[in-house]
């Protein structure tokens, strides 16, 4: 069972019910559950969307797009049914926050889904979990069944005359399916290859109907925003970055775990105070700030507020909020190789720059790390990575290219130290068996 951690600097909004037995529907109700959805039914769709806009909630999957704006793009009138799709395919390395939400607070996901449905005029919502999360899917399924039994879901929710159905769905192993258009393909029973945009899902989405797709953390936040008020929620974060985030501290940190901290919380403080610093009193070498796809930061760059805008300003991304701490005993070439190995494995092969680019980057880095690199490889890796950027249907190509380019740019010396048959100063695992 994943360990829950806490720190005095935490502001517990989304994680408020963690460890409180809220998987039980009665307990969830005791803790104020399903009050937000009732408030929303009384206030109506325009009010909900305005609250969401005012809250400055931005998508927790990684892109950071305004949730209220996204909802407002769905046309009011539609010939085809509209849908809400909750993305719980959580697969970005270093990210395990949704894992805890499904485990501890499944009804918050259901409640958020209903609210999203009320806001856009949808009568059906899907909650998609990655296939590996079977035990969490079972928790979700039980929660959905309980909600049906109470009349919170179904033909006449809360006796209001409104209809809302929720369907839980299991994936079967695919990072790419976390991309919203690939997610819809998978849910339609197909290979998870992305769709070209436009049209955007808000207009043409699942089964061709207008669809809102939100990350599980985003959806779980919605009832809390409605309950506490958009203004109060927004006030917790920084300008244009409302509220809190579940930050996941992992890697060489003394106290790894998922911590809920206000948006804009200082990264250095997060590592040294919340996380207790680098494990074993070692020196910090690098930090990946928001999941494996986000460009690496050097120790001198980490005095930064963790919100979408501030991290963007220094050339990286807040991403999924998964912070990876890397100590000075780590080989960055190996770390870069492990990262690209992942993206090569997960590239769906639909777009050539991504399919070929990730493969060549993996080959180059494998050879390089094994000591057979030549000087021109360093520039070639950079060149390859830069030429993948922006040339694919979905962001997986960028997700592979961005960190690779940053590793080479910021740790060029370490790449040069691997040249001319020099053994890796840190080498332990040259072979990577994942195929």
């Amino acid at each position: 069972m994943p360990k829950l951690v806490s720190h005095p600097d935490e502001v517990k909004i989304i994680s408020r019910r963690f460890g409180q037995g809220a998987t039980n529907i009665d307990r969830y109700l005791e803790l104020g559950g399903y009050e937000a959805v009732k408030k929303c039914m009384a206030q109506g769709p325009d009010w909900i969307i305005n609250e969401m806009k005012a809250s400055n909630l931005r998508g927790r999957g990684g892109a950071g797009f305004s949730t209220g704006m996204k909802w407002s793009f769905v046309p009011k009138q539609s010939a085809k049914p509209k849908y809400v799709l909750v993305n719980g395919d959580e697969s970005e390395p270093a990210t395990c926050k949704d894992h805890l939400i499904f485990l501890h607070d499944p009804h918050a996901i259901i409640e958020g889904t209903i609210i999203a449905g009320l806001a856009i005029g949808a009568k059906m919502g899907f909650i998609y979990l990655r296939g590996e999360y079977r035990y969490l899917l079972e928790i979700m399924e039980r929660a959905v069944a309980d909600a049906y039994e109470r009349g919170f879901l179904g033909k006449n929710i809360f006796g209001s005359g409104n209809e809302f159905e929720v369907i839980t769905q299991s994936g079967a192993g695919a990072y790419e399916v976390g991309e919203e258009s690939a997610l819809m393909e998978s849910l339609e029973g197909k290979r998870g290859v992305p769709r070209i945009k436009p049209p955007f899902p808000a207009v043409v989405g699942l089964y061709g109907g207008p669809t809102v797709i939100n990350n599980a953390e985003t959806i779980a936040t919605v009832p809390h925003i409605i309950a506490m008020g958009a203004e109060a929620y927004s006030a917790v974060g920084t300008p244009r970055n409302g509220g809190t985030r579940l930050f996941g501290l992992s890697g060489h940190v003394e106290r790894p775990g998922v911590y809920e901290l206000p948006m804009g919380y200082n990264l250095k403080k997060m590592i040294y105070e919340v996380g207790g610093g680098v494990r074993g009193g070692r020196k910090l070498k690098a930090v990946v700030p928001g999941g494996s796809s986000t460009p690496v930061l050097l120790p001198e760059e980490i005095d930064v507020g963790m919100d979408f805008d501030q991290v963007g300003k220094i050339g990286s991304m807040l991403g999924s909020g998964g912070v990876v701490v890397i100590d000075d005993q780590t080989c960055i070439v190996e770390f870069a190789l492990r990262t690209i190995t992942f993206y090569q494995h997960e590239s769906c092969g639909w777009c050539i720059p991504c399919r070929e680019g990730t493969d060549w980057l993996k080959k180059s880095l494998t050879r390089f790390h094994a000591g057979f690199g030549v000087a021109s490889d360093i520039d070639n890796i950079q060149y390859l990575a830069e030429n993948m950027l922006g040339r694919t249907f979905c962001p997986l190509g960028d997700a592979a290219a961005m960190p690779t380019a940053a590793f080479v740019k910021k740790f060029r010396k370490e790449f040069e130290d691997h040249l001319d048959g020099k053994p890796c100063p840190f080498a332990k695992h040259v072979e990577m068996a994942v195929v």
């Binding site: 894992h99 339609e188 992992s250 494996s292 992942f342």
Partner: protein
């Protein structure tokens, strides 16, 4: 004869429980085909892998061609066309786990089991797999045995984990024999 004409009852490799689950699942969606991905996984859970018979039956039940089902199945990393061990040990070696000793853990599993990536032990009890991120990064290094998570591990945990599952395998066999 189109794939939809096949009579699933006549050739069923699904247990009655699985068939019932499928029937319930397929009714939920606006489009029947949406049941395909989870159904393949549930069928694999029961049969052990996606055998020709499983592919044929899923195709017939949803009304798709077998080649269409195979095309979809080949996309997803958890779906397999060959049997695995009764307990499939999946060791995550992605970045957060790697930094906390996942490769040492993976090597220990290899040593103890005498098999490598996607290998199956001769007795069929275990198979081993190096996998990508399983979403347990803050409790690294982590593994899954079938669907069960084990986290915060060191190589010294390996013999105990294997012993537990070996016991479960023997227990299951004992039950079967007595029955």
């Amino acid at each position: 004869m189109s794939a939809g004409d096949a009579n699933p009852e006549r050739m069923s490799v699904f247990s009655p429980r699985l068939a019932a689950r499928f029937d319930a699942l397929v009714k939920k969606y606006p489009v029947k085909r949406s049941a395909l991905v989870p159904m393949l996984l549930y069928a694999q859970d029961e049969v052990g892998y996606l055998s020709d018979a499983v592919i044929a039956e899923v195709a017939a039940r949803i009304g798709l061609t077998e080649i269409d089902v195979r095309s979809v199945a080949s996309y997803y990393s958890m779906l397999r066309f060959k049997p695995a061990g009764k307990f499939n040990i999946q060791v995550c070696t992605n970045i957060s786990c790697m930094l906390r000793g996942a490769y040492e853990l993976y090597e220990r599993f290899q040593d103890e089991l005498g098999v490598g990536h996607k290998g199956v032990t001769p007795d069929g009890v275990f198979s081993l797999e190096e996998v990508e991120c399983i979403g347990a990064c803050c409790w690294a290094p982590a593994i899954q045995v079938n669907y069960d998570f084990h986290d915060d591990l060191t190589p010294d945990h390996v013999p105990g984990i294997l012993k537990t599952y070996r016991g479960k395998a023997q227990g299951a066999e004992g039950t079967a024999t007595r029955a």
